[in-house]
Symmetry: C2
Subunit: 101 residues, 2 copies
Amino acid sequence: MYIAMNRFKIAPGSEGDFIEIWKNRDTFLDTVAGFKEFNLLQGPTTEEHTLFASHSIWESKSDFENWTKSEAFRKAHANAGGAKKNIYLGPPQFEGFESVV
Amino acid sequence: MYIAMNRFKIAPGSEGDFIEIWKNRDTFLDTVAGFKEFNLLQGPTTEEHTLFASHSIWESKSDFENWTKSEAFRKAHANAGGAKKNIYLGPPQFEGFESVV
C-alpha cells in the first residue's frame, strides 16, 4: 500500500473556501489503475494556519507514479491553484509513504 | 472517518531498527470500538532524517479519543520509547485529521 499526501497550510477563516474548492473538483480518479480511495483531511489549527492534507491510497507507489504521468492527472490539475490564491500560506508540501508494517 | 498520525524523525541508518520495533509491538487495537486499520508508513528521507508515520483509521474522532483513555492504550504504550532512544531525532509529532471531502 502507498499513501500520497499533499499538505496545505490555509489561512485561518478560509477553511470553508478551501473545502468548497475540493468538493467541486473532479479528480478523475475512479477509473485509474491501482487507485483505492481519496479523502480531503482537515488537521490541526494553529495561530498561523489550518493544516489540510489531500490523502489518496494506492495499491503501489508505481500505480501512483503512473497516474502522475497520465492524461487523467493533467485534467485533474488543469485548474489547480487558479482561484483564491490568497487562502494558501505557501505551496503544498508533498509526502509519499510506503506501508512497511 | 478520522485518521490519527504520529510523525517520527529517525536517524539515517536506523530505519530497520525502527521498523523492527513496530513489527514486534502488540497494539491491542483489533478489539477496540471504531478502529478500522493500522499501518506504519515510511516517508521521505532527507540528509537529516527519515520520516515515518504511524497511521490509524477510525470511524470517528471520539472512537480514537476513547481509545487513548483505555486500558488497551495503556498496555500498547507501556514499553514505548524504552529501547534504542538514540534512533529518534526528537519526540513524535501527533496530527489528527477529520475527513471533510
